[in-house]
Amino acid sequence: MAEPIIKSRQAQKEVNGISTEVVCTQFSNYIFVVLTQYGKIGTLISVTPDSRSNDISTPTFSTKVLLGKDEPLTHVCAKNLATFVSLEAGNRPVLLGLALKDSSIDTIQEIKEIIKSCKVW
């Protein structure tokens, strides 16, 4: 079978004793990242770079909860996890599915490393 036009990579790892799955999928206009400790997509958040007026400052990002509970911690986690993906993928927006049992800073840092191992962009 020919190479699929949608490229994806996935990884599974224990983080702080919890089985964590990461799937990164590349679309031309989005990077879709699923981070789950429940096996579900959970809360869907879009992380979009704001239009840049100059290239000197680091771009800022807007987060929007598309599906699920809209609470401040979700926005913080989403920005923390997805900003580097967007920057590395040429400022592409990131669609993030987040279903974490543990949102501690150590866990977030470890999950970022797993995302790096699933680089599709």
Partner: protein, 124 residues
């Protein structure tokens, strides 16, 4: 990794791709199997142009469906998600990223998905 989650036997996220030439164009399908749900993308070019979510409710015989991304005037993703949720009894995410010019294409695409559901139910 096999774990009992919410009483179901879930063996981890599974990604599955297939494609089919329908009405002179190659249509690509990308499925991500999740715990009690799946994500399905359909398209001819690798863009994510919309996203609908659907799931069953005990209060209605038709599953509830909503568009979380994309143009609300295009109902293709929404209705496909609803029909797949009804059929599979799962939470279904659908991105239908094909041009809406030909209505018979939609029907053929849906039949191809149904065929895959019958042949490879383990991927959904």
């Amino acid at each position: 990794m096999t774990e009992m989650l919410n009483g179901s036997d879930f063996g981890g996220i599974l990604v599955h791709n297939f494609s089919e030439k329908i009405l002179e164009q190659v249509v690509h399908f990308h499925v991500m199997k999740l715990n009690e749900g799946f994500f399905l993308w359909v398209g001819s070019a690798p863009a994510l142009s919309n996203l609908a979510v659907s799931m069953s409710s005990k209060y209605d015989s038709m599953p509830l469906s909503t568009l979380v991304m994309g143009d609300p005037s295009n109902t293709a993703a929404n209705s496909l998600a609803q029909r797949l949720a009804k059929r599979t009894k799962k939470q279904v995410f659908v991105s239908y990223s094909l041009p809406m010019t030909d209505s018979s294409l939609g029907l053929l695409v849906e039949n191809r998905i149904k065929k895959e559901l019958e042949l490879h139910p383990e991927n959904f």
